[in-house]
Symmetry: C2
């Protein structure tokens, strides 16, 4: 092939990827239109659904407003980080675009989900199959948006900046990541504060069922599912999708030139088609069929199609079968993580059975057994990820260090190829949860409610699986970024050694960061939940006619309290994630910063899986008992299982998932400041003053977040709505 032909093929490939991205977005619009044609059911159902949508949008609006100024300040800072004005402008713009894309996915996704929920509830009156179809395809909307916007952004940036694209891509990745951090943490705090608050007063104090309309926190709880599992998770996976592409493009360009850049984009393009085709395999024909099996069928079909596509592209475009093996390793990784997640958290497995048994001897043994299960799975997850990294090393062994690093990032590309399916499965969760809640509140017929309950249970499983993939992909993405860091700083590697004990210091502090993060988040949820408890109690006490159902509670006020306190709690956490790597880099230099990143990746991975697993196992152990085991609902075993579930909730839905964006933020910040640190080996007084200011800012932020939140919330703000 002549060079001209190759170049032409490259142009052609890039334009087709843009076309694929557009197809992906068009398909999302098509799915939305299809969904909107469905009937919304009764007035009562519409009212509940509207309340959820209003609450969710109120939350997002406030969140976006709060973040907007931070985004603008950081855009200016990013402009300054680049030595070249043109690149600086591109980077700042890409950063804003990345953030806007992530925000759009969250916004559209949540509005789709909150419109789909009532339609699913209504369709359940007719058949299980129709309810499943609407719910899954509405989830697919978010998946296709993620694919489309992720691909579009990366390709356009590459086409504009070509050989210097990686400098701009960093900005794009950072925009998505930063928004994900805020959406994940804010959404996580919101959802669990509402959940715990609703349960503590409703289920435990007042002894009324979940989703009882007299509970003032019930709408906030339903909003929370959207805010956390829909907007938060979509932003999280969008970010991994973006970041794996960015690091694969950086490393691929260094190792294989343009081919190394285009191959991952083509692989992702294949994923779009596989996911679209997979959508149509998700259907049940009768009431007795299992909805989860149908979803799995869709996933497997997409996986097989993708693998065939990988092989074709590797052989005919890259002329290198190793590229195929590396992407295949990514899909295998995803499947293995699904398998262990299921083994440790699924109702049908021994371990959750053992956990359920431990509830018989009380809450303490329940907690201990859950902790042991979580700790163990974190080990297996590490072993699987290590095996994948080792596999990349073996595959590219002969091609040198850069190619091996590229191999690891291709694993991430392969793993997230099926993002369309993964996000569809995830968003399916809150849609069914909400549909079930709407069914409960609008008191629709029993048969429909049984169908909705079964879909809700399937949603719990799919959510758990997505969580495993999110964590696994976050670690692979972080490792790839870490490798890009060593590539960009020109370090041969990060030495943890006796020559420079400061590297060990960086390493220890990096490892401690996730612990600090989790500690602060758990406290945040606790503080926010306390506010909800007080408000719900107050309404029961003060609002006449509420208890006998003649007067509706003030749902909006609880939604507002959740929103405000989640925003407040974000400040310290965001500050820590953004400022710690800068402080370490400036104070201890780039090798120590490398140690810091390595330590943080390690302990975040361990903690995240530990928390997700323990939380999932406790949740399902409770379900087993609610299904009648060991005395069923109301028994002492049930009470112990509720303690386990309540402890697990903020671990699995707030603290654990927040670590995903956190490790990517610190890696990206490190990448962005690396040139600055290297240029600044000699500390000028200005740098020292800057560091002192940074540390002071971190300390103030921590102090601020520790203040009891109800002192800080201004009653007049709460009343305004």
């Amino acid at each position: 092939m002549g060079e001209d032909l190759e170049l032409n093929f490259e142009e052609y490939a890039l334009w087709s990827i843009i076309a694929i991205a557009v197809i992906s977005l068009a398909y999302a619009v098509f799915l939305i239109r299809q969904m909107l044609k469905e009937s919304e059911g009764t007035e009562k159902m519409k009212r509940v659904s509207n309340a959820i949508r209003a609450g969710a949008n109120a939350y997002l609006n406030r969140q976006f407003k709060a973040i907007a100024s931070i985004i603008l300040i950081l855009a200016v800072a990013l402009y300054l980080t680049a030595q070249d004005g043109g690149i600086g402008f591109g980077r700042a713009t890409a950063f804003v675009v990345g953030a806007i894309f992530s925000g759009t996915i969250g916004y559209v996704g949540m509005n789709t989900a909150t419109r789909a929920n009532v339609r699913v509830a209504n369709a359940a009156k007719r058949s299980l199959g129709e309810a499943l179809r609407i719910a899954y395809r509405s989830g697919a909307v978010v998946g296709m948006l993620t694919n489309g916007l992720g691909l579009l952004g990366s390709v356009v940036i590459f086409m504009i900046y070509r050989d210097r694209a990686y400098e701009v891509l960093l900005g794009f990745g950072f925009g998505g990541t930063l928004l994900a951090l805020f959406m994940r943490v804010g959404g996580g705090i919101y959802t669990k504060a509402a959940d715990i608050g609703a349960d503590l007063v409703g289920k435990i104090e007042k002894n009324i069922p979940e989703d009882d309309p007299r509970n003032a926190a019930v709408i906030a709880d339903l909003v929370g599912d959207n805010v956390g599992d829909c907007a938060g998770m979509a932003a999280d996976i969008f970010e991994s999708y973006e970041v794996t592409i960015v690091s694969a493009m950086i490393l691929g360009f260094a190792a294989f030139g343009h081919m190394g850049v285009i191959f991952p984009l083509l692989v992702r393009g294949i994923g779009v088609f596989s996911s679209i085709i997979g959508t149509y395999a998700v259907r049940v024909r009768s009431e007795t069929e299992n909805a989860f099996d149908a979803i799995k069928r869709g996933f497997n079909l997409s996986a097989v199609l993708s693998i065939i596509g990988f092989a074709v592209v590797a052989v005919y475009y890259a002329n290198d079968i190793r590229f195929f093996w590396a992407t295949l390793a990514g899909i295998v990784l995803a499947i293995m993580i699904n398998y262990t997640t299921e083994h440790f958290t699924s109702i049908e497995k021994d371990l959750v059975g053992e956990l359920a048994k431990s509830t018989k001897t009380g809450a303490a043994t329940t907690i201990l057994t859950g902790l042991a299960i979580g700790l163990e799975n974190s080990v297996w997850a590490v072993i699987i990820i290590s095996a994948t990294i080792a596999a990349s090393a073996v595959i590219f062994q002969s091609a040198g260090a850069l190619a091996i690093a590229y191999g690891v990032s291709l694993t991430g590309i392969g793993m997230l190829t099926l993002t369309g399916n993964t996000i569809a499965m995830d968003v399916f969760g809150p849609i069914c949860d909400n549909a079930n809640g709407i069914g409960e509140m609008a008191k629709i017929d029993r048969k429909a409610r049984r169908r909705l309950a079964s879909l809700d249970a399937v949603g719990n499983t799919t959510k758990a699986i997505t969580k495993g993939i999110a964590i696994g992909s976050a670690v692979i993405a972080a490792v790839s970024l870490f490798q890009s860091f060593t590539q960009m700083t020109g370090l041969a590697g990060i030495r943890v050694d006796r020559v420079d004990p400061l590297v060990f210091v960086g390493f220890l502090i990096g490892g401690a960061l996730p612990f600090m993060f989790c500690s602060l988040i758990i406290r945040s949820v606790g503080r926010a939940a306390n506010l909800i408890v007080e408000e719900v109690r107050r309404q029961f006490r003060e609002v006449k006619g509420l208890w006998n159902g003649t007067v509706e509670p003030d749902y909006a006020r609880v939604v507002d309290i959740c929103t405000i306190s989640a925003q407040k709690e974000l400040i310290a956490l965001g500050a820590i994630a953004l400022l710690t790597p800068i402080a370490i880099g400036l104070l201890l230099h780039e090798e120590a910063l490398g140690g810091f990143l390595a330590g943080a990746i390690l302990s975040a991975q361990l903690l995240a899986v530990f928390m997700a697993t323990a939380g999932g196992a406790w949740d399902n152990a409770k379900k087993m008992i609610e299904d009648g085991l060991y005395g069923g609902k109301g028994s002492d075993a049930h009470k112990a299982s509720i303690v386990g579930d309540t402890v697990g909730d903020p671990l699995k839905d707030t603290a654990g998932p927040a670590l995903n964006p956190m490790i990517k933020v610190i890696n990206l910040v490190s990448l962005l400041i690396a040139p600055l640190i290297i240029a600044n080996e000699q500390m000028t007084p200005q740098v020292i003053i800057a560091i002192i200011a940074l540390v002071a800012a971190i300390l103030i932020a921590i102090w601020y977040s520790k203040k009891e939140a109800y002192i800080g919330v201004d009653e007049s703000i709460l009343r305004r709505r």
Copy 2:
């Protein structure tokens, strides 16, 4: 000074250190004799005390028997690790001696404690001051033994092997460390299984007070305090004492020749005198004085004396003030860790108050708040240790890499100079706990029991402080060993990098190891506790006359069940600690093994402090409520606080402390096999077979430990006693 004179001074110094070691041992014998002169009180008291001693000795005898064969096998293996037969023999012998020394400290210490307890109980009838004096000085016995044997072994080995001593010292360190692992883990499982078993049936099911003589597990519980806090903790600190000396001698010899070896020995010698003098400051003159203040007074006096001594030796012997700063940094580190431990776990501080408040909303919020507190303190501990390492780097900045590494190990030397005081404070705990239990069971007069209860509470605080020092010193010791590893393998350092992703793999797996360890240990405690619960229930059900107090329960049988199941559980844990570094080293080579060690040190440090802190905070929150807060005993808040305490117990007394010897075992194993790994870069079929066998052994051990223990315990064995 001429060279002859210097050499003469060196010999003179070495002989004086031997003399100091002998003085230390003689002082221990003197303290034992003094204690034995005290009266044992009534027949009833003697009977209880004898039962505790019999149980404790039965445990230790069985443990020693079980370990003996492992020690012998490993001694042969160690003989083979050295290339030189003479060194091999010395190393194997030193290993056995190290193990015997550690065992002796445990054995003598436990027998001292179990003889002292009844005398303390009896002295409490007379005055608080006498009870305090007997209890503290009996604790000091164990401290002086540790000092004496630790110094004696190191100096004698150095005097025999001189320039090659470090090869033999490794064996000495390993012997102590291995025994510590078994004593710590076995003792930890024993003590918490007995404690949880006694509480679950006694306090919760039967509603009888702690230490009620009708509870069949009450003697096992009292035995457990000795087995865990006395024998286990003494072995743990002895090991850190030994290992810091060994690594300081290795690094000191490499950096500063003989002077680098003798300086740490002299510093430790000073510690012996300071501790002896400090003993006499621990006294109260009236009933209103605070016993804890008296103990602190003793500690502070010893600290001041030591610091003066350090300065003298640094200036007049080493002629290098930097040596003084490094050892001083160690003492500062110990004080800082005491401070943070107190801040996060002490009753008088805000955090435990907040935790106590969270019990009002139930067990779930209690657990969550405790987790947050534990996670946070692990961060501060890391920051303090990092600051110490950074300080060593600054102090020896100009002297090169080896000197910096030596500086870190001198910090460990400084930190453990006051081992005499530290261990005395620790062993004081179980003595007072037992004395209080004996007082309860023998129903002595109320005034004496009040005195004993107050001493027991002081013991809880001193135990918590010792735990902090044990963890801190374990990390410093492990970092020093890690540096010795890089020194011995001739690696410039361990690179976590893109050049060799296997290092990252080793690093991830190393980080996962402590999680696996904790998971297995928590399950072990659960299984063993289940056996106790069943046995205590059975006795209440089947033994006639037990409930109304006319017949004594079969205490010995419960002691036996505890002993057997603790031994069984040890197998998998010991196998993992010994075999994993060998497998990693052989499979992935020395750089990856270095990554493995770094990862393990990091995550062990974080987990250990997390667990110790959360456990301590829950324990004290419960105490606050039992003292009358939020409804006091029997209230819902109290029940929630019991859940917290029960969850915290195996974390703080079994899983967390077990990580201390674990990280030292893997470091020492790595040091011992390093030459083998370097020689074996090319894998022979034999090596591959050996690795497969090792991995199989690990898997079998894990599988074995997971079997439900009550299937495995042979009833006939239990009945034999």
